[in-house]
């Protein structure tokens, strides 16, 4: 019986293991390179692991770059972006689902369409606007334009629709105002979706590269993805080991958070109704 069961499962396991290995390969490559001394990086070969692991690359990063400052910048920006986007998205999704008003569908479609506008289209005018406001090299300039994202509205609207209407009505009869309904009834009811979306927002905000590149040119304001650029130079050559060390350090926080909460995150996604 047991053998039969395995023979039935085995092909799926093979496919899954293959996928997992392929998924992790570039990852391993990054980490392995980060621990390699410089000449070994160029040795090539199929075995990605370092023969003589070294911390020199990490040391170089720590010495040359105020990594903790960038870490703090990135964290602050990502938290601000995630938090504010969640607030505006939740409010708007609530507004779109819990009220009937003229033009509701039209405004919603408008938001929906905005999801599909490539950032490259809006980059230049937004840059000029931000610079006109004097927000270059500021958290405001970094954060606020990134809040214009209707994806959260769309996904949260989906999951709010899965909440029984009577729950809201019960709360209204209980005398709860809109904010109390939001905070004490709606949010707990769609918690998985909120968590999953927040994680998604956070990872994206953490990794955002192009907008910070445009608005930040003061090194002290850099975020981690920008800091990676401080180790590349086409003309003089890119310090791959150092860059991979920096990249590993950059990827580490979200990765650790993800691995620690992995079960919860995946379940959140599965329970979130974020499947659209």
């Amino acid at each position: 019986m047991k053998v039969r069961r395995w023979s039935k499962e085995a092909p799926w396991h093979i496919l899954l293991i293959l996928t997992a290995v392929l998924s992790l390969l570039p990852f391993i490559w990054m980490l392995a390179t980060a621990f390699k001394p410089e000449p070994e990086i160029f040795a090539g070969g199929l075995n990605p692991l370092p023969a003589v692991p070294t911390l020199a690359n990490f040391r170089f990063v720590m010495e040359r770059v105020p990594l903790f400052r960038y870490f703090a910048n990135t964290l602050l920006a990502a938290v601000l972006i995630t938090g504010l986007k969640m607030v505006t998205s939740i409010l708007a999704a609530y507004g779109f689902t819990r009220f009937r008003f003229r033009g509701r569908e039209f405004i919603f479609y408008l938001c929906l369409v905005s999801i599909f506008v490539p950032v490259q289209v809006t980059m230049l005018p937004n840059y000029l606007l931000i610079s006109h406001l004097g927000w270059l090299n500021s958290f405001a300039g970094l954060v606020i334009p990134q809040l214009a994202d209707a994806m959260g509205i769309f996904l949260l609207r989906q999951s709010i629709r899965t909440v029984p209407v009577s729950l809201f009505e019960a709360a209204r009869i209980d005398g709860a105002g809109h904010l109390a309904v939001l905070r004490r009834v709606l949010l707990p009811a769609i918690k998985p979706a909120v968590v999953a979306l927040a994680i998604l927002f956070f990872i994206n905000a953490w990794n955002e590269y192009y907008w910070p590149l445009l608005v930040l040119n003061d090194k002290s304001m850099y975020t981690l993805p920008l800091a990676l650029q401080m180790f590349t130079n086409q003309e003089g050559g890119t310090a791959w080991g150092v860059m991979m060390a920096a990249a590993s350090l950059t990827a580490l926080p979200p990765l650790v958070v993800y691995l620690l909460t992995q079960r919860y995150v995946v379940d959140s996604f599965i329970n979130s109704g974020l499947k659209g």
């Binding site: 899954l16 409010l91 507004g95 008003f101 938001c111 905005s114 937004n126 990249a247 993800y258």
Partner: protein, 290 residues
């Protein structure tokens, strides 16, 4: 007063979207009729000139065609494959699913910029592991990033690597939501595994698949932009350019704001039909779920 309450809820998000998405789109429209390098105090009125030069040149058409190719490739890599893998996960017992869910989603936490740099190494035509492997098998190693035929595949794969996990989880969520009774009913009727998949699971997850499909089509163009910009600059000879990169190249590579804007407008027009269609599709699907 009560009439304005919903507006109060929507206002913050709407304000931001109008200010940072719609207003720029309108100003892009205006810009597309000008010739301007972004700094000179005077912009020259160009009329439809930017559009004409785009439509008569070959770059725009090449980029449009490539956008289509990317889309098709990404649909296979980022919809069909993750669907298959997600299905595979549902075929193994729950307690053995966890490591797969964890490992396959993990690459999603790395930025595309970093992923691009890693793949620059993996794709090295002389010492990359892929090529070493191919040479061990006695096959010639293609020059991934300089080959006309390979470059789009190579760049798509980077995007796939980054997005695979997310799509996988979303599709898995859809698969898990298929009622067990339906599958059991089909089993009682003697349906084979494949028949159950095709006649029960596939239609039951069509809503989720549709969502992933739409997002892949629309966002594919934007996600692929990062490896293009980092690794090939659209080369060789426009073989890897897509519409979004072309906008960037005119704007931030050639400093021709007018032409970049015209390209953006045309790109939006190309997407517009798609957008309306998709908005409808999304809405309709939601209706089904209610």
């Amino acid at each position: 007063m009560r009439r304005f309450i919903p507006l109060v809820f929507i206002a913050p998000a709407l304000f931001l979207i109008v200010l940072f998405t719609f207003w720029p789109v309108l100003s892009t429209l205006h810009l597309s009729f000008l010739q301007w390098n972004m700094i000179s105090p005077r912009a020259r009125w160009e009329g439809p000139g930017n559009y004409l030069s785009l439509l008569t040149g070959r770059e725009f058409w090449l980029a449009g065609y490539n956008t289509l190719v990317y889309t098709v490739i990404l649909l296979v890599f980022n919809l069909v494959l993750p669907y298959l893998v997600a299905y595979a996960v549902t075929r193994v017992p729950p307690r053995r699913q966890t490591p797969y869910k964890a490992l396959i989603f993990a690459p999603g936490v790395i930025s595309l910029a970093v992923a691009s740099v890693i793949f620059l190494w993996l794709y090295n035509p002389v010492l990359g592991p892929v090529d070493i492997l191919l040479r061990h098998l006695g096959l010639g190693a293609p020059a991934w990033l300089t080959g006309y035929r390979t470059v789009i595949w190579a760049l798509s794969l980077i995007t796939t690597w980054k997005l695979f996990g997310y799509n996988f989880i979303v599709l898995l969520a859809g698969l898990v939501a298929v009622p067990r009774e339906l599958i059991q009913a089909a089993q009682l009727e003697g349906a084979s595994g494949w028949q159950i998949f095709w006649h029960i699971i596939r239609p039951q997850t069509s809503a989720t698949s549709l969502y992933v499909l739409v997002m892949t089509v629309v966002w594919g163009a934007q996600y692929v932009f990062v490896p293009i910009q980092m690794l090939t600059n659209g080369g060789p000879d426009y073989a890897s350019t897509n519409l979004v990169f072309l906008i960037y190249q005119y704007g931030f590579g050639f400093f021709q704001a007018g032409k970049a804007a015209a390209c953006a407008v045309l790109t939006l027009l190309v997407f517009l039909v798609l957008i309306l269609l998709q908005a409808r599709v999304l809405e309709k699907k939601v209706y089904y779920e209610d």
